[in-house]
């Protein structure tokens, strides 16, 4: 009886002409040369380096988030293409097609759920990847450019998710997109509601918002625009940038630092590729199970005449929407996100600290890590408040409180510097005062050349704030909650905006110092403005209505 010799069969298959024509290389002997050839000889795998340091293989080092982001991108492409077979982007059909996916199409609900949940997961994964790269200093020379590409990819990930948000054409969709695109209408110079927009001849029907929407409100044109951007234009750009991103990783080599000086590198095939596969498979499993258990949201059909109360942007933009409580749209929706993107891209060029490349280094990179994590924490805290704690009329409702308890309107607000009857003090005074404060907070940390005692400084500052708060409460100007806000925001802004920069970056050269400090001061200005509103009900610190400039 002939026995089945698997090894022989395998050899015959691999050595057959067909196999040989598909996969390059000779007989597989599992030598280092074979493993290298496996990477080099395969068009998909050759974007990898052939060898990498052992640290780069560790989950604890890389979190696998870059690979998982890409796995999610592939998953989204597959489920997205499948969905395109069923979905027609017109106002009359879009919502019905989604209902068909839910009720009539085989696996339709599963497909839509996986696409939705994978998109949400990808946003999280890309942000996590960025945090990891920052914390391991992987953006430093020679990888500055690839970090910039990564920042663009993050932005495009958010934009992809945002454009997809409109497609179900339900209430959730059009109002989230209305919130998002209204912010674009507040772009300085280019938006009809932004500062200087009027000077540039911007109207509701020729500004940047109009370009995005294809009209003055979300409608048929918006749907087709967002559909094309979502399915074709943006994925193409993302695909091109991804190739660039991967190729640069290979050319710049993995950032992971060697464990010891004369360490041998490890073969990428199979050591990294197997991990990538497991990461991708685990992600797919997670998304699949989530999609079986939890349905993607779908509300009533879009109705431009009925605004839900509250209307919220997609969750990853809710942090910016939350800032709308404190700032005009051109700041919260355009200036701050713009600064975040530019600031992120600038990081590798302003961070001159050569230490901490390829490993976690809290002590060696105190200033960079603290500031970056402060930004990340602020971003997510704001998202949490906006998503979970904002109810009808955008009033503050703790998560445990019912939205059916009606809340009083917020107290009336006032502006500090502005024209007569609008601001308490004149503009002519406001511009030098605010300019002076800005210049002082920008320059002081560097001008004071010796190291100050941080603890004494903080103690003194907090004592002063507490004294002011007590006096204020004594005069019944505000209550204890406002006093607590004052201390909380004041201490945060003083520590991160003065004490830390003074200690860590006063030695930086002037151009780098000014850019860094500019970003720091802008971040602190957000905290201080929140403090001004919550404690003193200040609407604007400075308002110049003639050019729609309110800060």
């Amino acid at each position: 009886m002939p026995t089945l010799d698997i090894e022989k069969l395998k050899k015959e298959v691999i050595d057959s002409q067909i196999w040989r024509s598909v996969f390059r290389g000779g007989v597989w002997k599992d030598t280092p040369r074979d493993r290298a050839a496996h990477i080099i000889g395969n068009v998909w795998l050759h974007l990898h380096p052939v060898k990498a340091r052992p640290r780069a293989m560790k989950w604890a080092y890389s979190w696998g988030m870059g690979g998982i982001s890409f796995a999610l991108y592939l998953l989204l492409t597959i489920s997205g293409v499948a969905l395109m077979f069923y979905y027609r982007p017109t106002v009359g059909l879009a919502y019905r097609d989604i209902k068909d996916l839910e009720f009539a199409i085989t696996l339709g609900k599963f497909l839509r759920n996986s696409h939705r949940w994978a998109a949400q997961a990808m946003v999280v994964a890309v942000i996590a990847h960025m945090v990891r790269v920052f914390l391991t200093g992987a953006y430093k020379k020679p990888r500055e450019f690839n970090w910039g590409v990564g920042v663009l990819l993050l932005t495009l990930t958010l934009f992809l998710s945002f454009t997809g948000y409109l497609l179900p054409w339900d209430q959730l969709a059009i109002w989230a997109v209305t919130v998002g695109t209204n912010m674009a209408g507040a772009t300085p110079f280019l938006g009809n509601e932004g500062p200087f927009g009027g000077l540039m001849g911007m109207h509701i029907n020729n500004d940047v918002r109009f370009t995005l929407l294809g009209g003055t409100m979300v409608g048929e044109n918006t749907l087709i625009r967002f559909y094309v951007m979502h399915c074709v234009a943006v994925p193409l750009v993302v695909g091109i940038l991804l190739i660039l991103h991967f190729w640069r990783i290979r050319k710049d080599s993995f950032s992971a630092a060697p464990y010891k000086a004369d360490e041998e590198k490890v073969d990428v095939w199979p050591h990294l590729v197997k991990r990538e596969y497991i990461g991708a498979a685990g992600t797919t499993l997670f998304i699949m199970i989530w999609s079986i258990l939890q349905n993607a949201p779908l509300e009533s059909i879009a109705n431009p005449n009925v605004t839900p109360n509250p209307s919220k942007a997609p969750w990853y933009f809710v942090g910016l929407q939350e800032l709308l409580v404190y700032f005009d749209p051109w700041i919260a929706g355009v200036l701050l996100p713009g600064l975040i993107i530019v600031g992120l891209i600038a990081i590798p060029y302003i961070d001159t600290n050569p230490k901490g490349v390829g490993y976690y280094a809290w002590k060696e990179r105190k200033f960079a890590n603290t500031m970056f994590m402060l930004g990340i924490v602020m971003w997510f805290v704001l998202i949490y408040i906006g998503a979970e704690c904002r109810g009808p009329n955008y009033a503050f409702y703790p998560p445990w409180e019912s939205w059916y308890i009606l809340k009083a309107a917020p107290p009336p607000t006032w502006s500090v510097f502005g024209p007569a009857h609008v601001g308490a003090l004149p503009i002519a005074l406001g511009i030098p005062v605010i300019g002076g404060l800005f210049a002082a907070s920008m320059l002081l940390p560097k001008l004071i050349q010796k190291e100050l005692n941080g603890k004494a400084l903080m103690g003194g500052f907090c004592a002063a704030v507490i004294a002011v708060a007590l006096v204020g409460m004594g005069l019944h100007k505000f209550g204890p909650v406002s006093g607590a806000f004052m201390l909380f925001f004041g201490a945060l802004a003083f520590y991160f905006g003065f004490v830390m920069p003074q200690r860590h970056i006063r030695g930086l050269d002037w151009p780098r110092y000014l850019v860094t400090m500019g970003l720091v001061v802008c971040t602190m200005a957000i905290l201080l403005k929140m403090c001004a509103r919550l404690t003193f009900n200040i609407k604007y610190v400075l308002t110049i209505p003639t050019i729609s400039l309110n800060i």
């Binding site: 498979a281 199970i289 079986i292 009533s300």
Partner: protein, 475 residues
């Protein structure tokens, strides 16, 4: 665990989860209903075949049974091209599918043990159903609900984010669908409840505040499209206060029918309390100005209160037809002949009719006997305003504010004065308030001179003056 094991495990798990997804997708609710129906039909043909003597008919029955046993399960739908709707109701309610079951009746139609889903459409022989062939009108044109859905909850529409759930047949709300197209619904057989609703709507003076298609006053919102009104807009964050039979409704039962019903069977002030003491807003806002028509005990007890539960359901039925949905094609509409004015020999009787016709009862009570509540109006029987009263005490006094009880006042007017007063109305801002800092009363006397003709006005005044209370001296 090694990566090799993890590799195999992950692959098998992915395959397994995908099969799970397929299985979950395959296990659709509607398949059970459809296959059960086919099985029941096949069984009934088998039974027929067993009892049949004629071999030709017997084999025919057996063939039918076999056909039904092998019927493929599929989603069935009626395409209502007029409405651009796809009604998939017959996917489960196969007995109502004309193609599978041309008679649209089943042998077990009368069997109380069989679930309604397997039965044919009731009243299939009646002109009402014959005039509305299902293949043309579909199901949701009358029943409402979510035609595209293929799950019970989704299709019946009692789910979040579906604004038009199925109209209750039991409570008669479905008759609102007659009103959508038939202007002459009051004369139609089968629309009696909706007709009663309109009669109640007139009798209790709803027109005095709510206009429908321009007929009626504009003290409150017009109701001509109330059935279309998006829920977010109507109820806002007040819905949580709605009680039907004293119970809070689950969120998936929040719909316009229950919202109207709650206004008619509860004190509307509870549903829309607003902000009479300006706790939340800069200015005080009075609670709903609508009168409390609810003080009834049960259906039989019509002696108490004005509206029984059946009356309230009838009004809900009538208002459920108040739609201006553009998709209903014009050829579906049946206009009503103009309403005929009855003739009265007696000026007083005509005056009484005029009082009812224009909805005066909405504020002044049935037959002008008792003025209804007018929140925070100065009226008889209130304690004098005292700033030191608690909010609850103030509220109790404000609630005592009322529209005038006309017979008490009629003695102080001449015929001409009365006509002038009715004609010019009393502007909202002229109201005398009990609490000077409190809200302006929500309801007011509108201007009638453009609405009530001279002849009608004369007779109305004659009737009103005749109701005047006379004291012992005869004045």
């Amino acid at each position: 665990m090694g990566y090799r094991k993890a590799f195999y495990l992950a692959n098998f798990l992915m395959l397994g989860v995908f099969i799970w997804a397929l299985a979950a997708d395959n296990k659709a609710e509607w398949k059970d209903y459809q296959s059960n129906y086919f099985k029941m039909t096949a069984d009934s043909f088998d039974k027929l075949a067993a009892a049949e003597k004629d071999p030709a008919k017997k084999s025919d029955d057996e063939a039918q049974a076999k056909k039904f046993r092998h019927m493929p399960l599929e989603i069935r739908q009626i395409i209502v091209s007029d409405l651009d709707r796809y009604d998939r109701c017959t996917t489960c309610h196969v007995a109502m599918d004309e193609y599978t079951n041309p008679t649209m009746t089943t042998p077990w139609d009368k069997d109380p043990k069989v679930s309604a889903v397997y039965k044919g459409h009731p009243k299939i022989d009646e002109a009402l159903v014959k005039a509305h062939p299902f293949t043309k009108f579909g199901c949701t044109a009358c029943h409402e609900g979510q035609g595209l859905a293929t799950t019970t909850a989704g299709a019946h529409g009692h789910v979040l984010h579906w604004e038009h759930p199925m109209l209750s047949v039991k409570a008669g709300h479905i008759q609102g669908s007659c009103v959508k197209c038939h202007g002459n619904f009051e004369t139609l057989k089968g629309a009696e409840i909706a007709a009663k609703g309109r009669a109640q709507f007139k009798q209790h003076g709803c027109y005095g505040c709510h206009a429908i298609n321009g007929w009626g006053q504009t003290v409150s919102v017009g109701l001509e499209a109330i059935a279309d009104k998006p829920f977010e807009r109507i109820a806002g964050y007040n819905y949580d206060r709605v009680r039907i039979d004293g119970k809070r409704l689950p969120e998936n039962e929040w719909n316009i029918q229950n919202w109207i019903l709650a206004h008619l069977t509860n004190d509307p002030q509870q549903v829309t309390p607003n902000d009479p003491f300006a706790h939340l807003n800069a200015e005080p806002i009075p609670p709903s100005g609508m009168a409390d028509f609810s003080s009834f005990v049960d259906d039989k007890d019509t002696g108490h209160g004005e509206l029984s539960r059946a009356d309230a359901d009838a009004i809900v039925a009538y208002l459920s037809g108040m739609t201006q949905e553009e998709l209903i094609p014009y050829r579906w509409h049946v206009p009503a002949p103009p309403e005929r004015e009855p003739h009265f020999a007696d000026a007083k009787a005509h005056g009484h009719y005029v009082f009812q016709k224009y909805g005066c009862a909405g504020c002044h009570g049935l037959d002008a006997k008792q003025g209804r509540r007018r929140f925070n109006a100065l009226g008889p029987g209130q304690k004098p305003y005292d700033e030191k009263m608690t909010d609850a005490e103030k509220f109790a006094e404000m609630e005592k504010g009322a529209e005038p009880t006309l017979p008490d006042l009629m003695g102080t007017y001449t015929h001409d004065e009365l006509i002038k007063k009715i004609g010019n109305g009393v502007a909202a801002a002229e109201a005398k308030k009990w609490d000077p800092k409190g809200p302006l009363p929500m309801v007011f006397m509108p201007v009638w001179k453009d609405k009530i003709s001279k002849n009608e006005m004369d007779d109305l005044a004659t009737w009103l003056l005749s109701t005047a209370k006379k004291d012992d001296t005869g004045f």
